[in-house]
Amino acid sequence: MNEKIIEVKELKKHFKTKSGMLHAVDGVNFFINRGETLGLVGESGCGKSTTGRVLLRLIQANSGEVLFHNENILEYSKPDMKKMRKNMQIVFQDPYSCLNPRLTVSEIIAEPLIINKVYKTKDELETRIDELIGRVGLSERLKTSYPHELDGGRRQRVGIARALALNPEFLVLDEPVSALDVCIQAQILNLLKDLQKELGLTYLFIAHNLSVVKHISDRIAVMYLGQIIELTDYKSIFKDPLHPYTQALLSAIPIPKLGVQKERLILRGDVPSPINPAEGCRFAGRCDYSKQNCFEETPKLIESEPGRWVACHYVRQLEQN
C-alpha cells in the first residue's frame, strides 16, 4: 500500500542572477506514496513552483535526485525522458496562458497523444479525446471551440484533460485553482479528487491557500525559502504545528465566525532574500525562539515523531528567550 511512487533527495536548483546565486530550491527532501496527495504550501517566491517543475525536468536541477519508481530520472537520456514524461504530467496555474490560443480544445487535448504517437488511426484518437472531454466534465460541443471562448473553469478542465491524455501516474498540480473564483475552485477540486479515486493518481498539489490544501491533501509540506521546514499529515499540522513558521502561518488563517478573535503571531521583519542566503536556519532571523546555534547550523528535516518531519533544532522545547 505504502509504495513510494516518487522520492526527492537533496534537490537543489540555483539560478544565476546579477547579484549572486538565487537559491530557489535548496536541498529539498520528500516522498509521495501511490495514490496520495502531498500539498506543498509556502508564500510566493519560496520555490514551490520551481520544485514542481524541477521534478518534471522542465527546469534542470543543479544537484540531487528525483527517484520515480526508484529510478533517478534526472540522469535519464533525452529519449528515455520522453518515454518517462507519459507517466508524469502537470496542470498549470494560469488557465489563460496554459492553452495555445490558436488550437481548438480537441487539438489541445490531442497534442500529447500525437507527439507520443499513442494511436495509429484518427478514429482511435477521436474516441480517446471524447472520453477525456467527458471525464473532465466538458460538454462535447466545446470540442471545436477555441480557448478564448471558454471561461476559466472550463479552460482549467481542458488543461486537466490534456494532462490526463497520456494516462500518467503522477500529476504536479501547480496552483490549479488559485486563478479561479471560489465556486469554480470547489468544482475543480472535487473533479481532481474524483479523478484521483477513479484513476489512482498521485498528486503533488502546490498552493498558497491553506484551506484549499487542507481540503485535498493527505500530507502537507510547508516550504520556506527553498527548504521544506515541516511535513506532516493534514490533520496534525492544523491542530498542532511544530515549526514556529508553521505556527505563524496557520495563525494567519481567518476564522469565518462573527466575534471570534484569533491571536495572531506576527513575524518580525521580511522574508530574507533567497540570493546567497546565510548559513544556519533560514527562519532564524525572524524566529522568536532562535538561539545561537540556529544561526550557525542548518537544521535537517528529521522525523521527530512518527510521520511528522520538522526542520528545527528545538522541536517541542520552544521557549521564548
Binding site: L58, N100, R102, E111, I115, K122, T144, H148, L166
Partner: protein, 290 residues
C-alpha cells in the same frame, strides 16, 4: 469521417474570422482590391498592354496623353501605359520575392535566437546588429554593386538588407510567447523543440510578421525602384517604375507626364500595401474579437 470534416471547417474559420474583421475596414479592403488588380495586371500584361514595352516609335516621341497613348510616350516613342503595365510584373516580383528571402532567413534567425537564448542568441543578434548598423539602402547598393546589376541580384540585395528587421521582430515575438505556460505544457508532453517552434510559437506570432511583411513589400518595391533609379537595378529596355522615373527625370520640365505616371503607379501600390498592412494588423489581433 464526419468529425474530420468538421475539424477542417473549423480550421478555416480562424482565417474566416480574420476576413470578417478585415472586411469592415473599408480602407484595407480598398488596398486589397488594388493589390489584386495589380496582380491581375501583372499576370495578364500581354493582353492588357496595347503596345509592346520595347517597340520604339521615333515619330511619336514625347507624346502627351491621348486616346492612342493613354499615358503618352517617352523619349523613344514607347507607350508609357504599356511600360507601366509590364513594369508591375517586375515590381511585384521584386517586392514579394525580396520579402520572402528576408522573411525566411531573418525569421529563422530570429526564431532560433528567441527560442534558445543565451550565447547563441547573442552571437546571432550581434551579427544582425552589424547588418543593422549599415543603412539598408547603402547595404543594398553595396550588394548589387558587388554582384552586378540584374533582377535576381536586385532581389537578393533588397532581401538581405532587410533581414535584421525581421530577425529582431520574430525574436521579440518568440521571446514573449516562449514564456507562456502552454509551451511548458508542450515540453512536459515530450514535444521536440522544432515542433514547439513551428506548431506553438510561430502561429502565435503570425500577426506582427504578416503586418511587417505587407509593409515590407512596399519598402522593398521602393528600394528596388531607388536602385533602378541610380542605374543599379533593372537594365533597359526592361520596364521598371524606378528606372522609368529616372529616365524621365531629364525631361521633367517639358514632359512631366513621363515621371508622373510611373510615380503615381508606385504611389498607389505602396499606399495600397500600407493600407492592407494596417488593416491586417487590426484584423489579426486575437484580442479584438468581432
Amino acid at each position: 469521417m464526419n468529425t474530420v470534416k468538421q475539424k477542417k471547417n473549423k480550421k478555416k474559420s480562424i482565417w474566416l474570422d480574420v476576413w470578417r474583421r478585415l472586411r469592415k475596414n473599408k480602407m484595407a479592403v480598398g488596398g486589397l482590391v488594388i493589390i489584386i488588380l495589380l496582380f491581375l495586371t501583372a499576370i495578364f500584361a500581354d493582353w492588357i498592354a496595347p503596345y509592346s514595352y520595347e517597340s520604339q516609335d521615333l515619330l511619336n516621341m514625347f507624346q502627351t496623353p491621348s486616346f492612342e497613348h493613354w499615358f503618352g510616350t517617352d523619349e523613344f516613342g514607347r507607350d508609357i501605359f504599356s511600360r507601366i503595365v509590364y513594369g508591375s510584373r517586375i515590381s511585384l516580383e521584386v517586392g514579394f520575392i525580396a520579402v520572402g528571402i528576408s522573411l525566411i532567413i531573418g525569421g529563422s534567425i530570429g526564431a532560433i535566437a528567441g527560442y534558445y537564448g543565451g550565447r547563441l542568441e547573442n552571437l546571432l543578434m550581434r551579427c544582425m546588429d552589424v547588418l543593422l548598423a549599415i543603412p539598408e539602402i547603402l547595404l543594398a547598393i553595396a550588394i548589387v554593386a558587388a554582384l552586378g546589376p540584374s533582377i535576381a541580384n536586385l532581389m537578393i540585395a533588397v532581401g538581405i538588407s532587410s533581414i535584421p528587421g525581421y530577425a529582431r521582430l520574430v525574436r521579440a515575438s518568440v521571446m514573449s510567447i516562449r514564456e507562456q505556460e502552454f509551451i511548458e505544457a508542450a515540453r512536459a508532453a515530450g514535444s521536440s523543440d522544432f515542433r514547439i517552434i513551428v506548431k506553438h510559437i510561430l502561429p502565435n506570432c503570425m500577426a506582427p510578421i504578416i503586418v511587417q511583411a505587407t509593409i515590407g513589400v512596399a519598402i522593398a518595391i521602393l528600394t528596388a525602384a531607388g536602385l533602378s533609379f541610380i542605374g543599379l537595378g533593372i537594365q533597359p529596355p526592361t520596364p521598371e517604375w524606378g528606372s522609368m522615373l529616372s529616365g524621365g527625370r531629364s525631361y521633367i520640365r517639358d514632359y512631366p507626364h513621363m515621371t508622373l505616371f510611373p510615380g503615381i503607379a508606385m504611389m498607389v501600390t505602396i499606399l495600397a500595401l500600407n493600407l492592407l498592412g494596417d488593416g491586417l494588423r487590426d484584423a489579426l489581433d486575437p484580442k479584438l474579437k468581432n
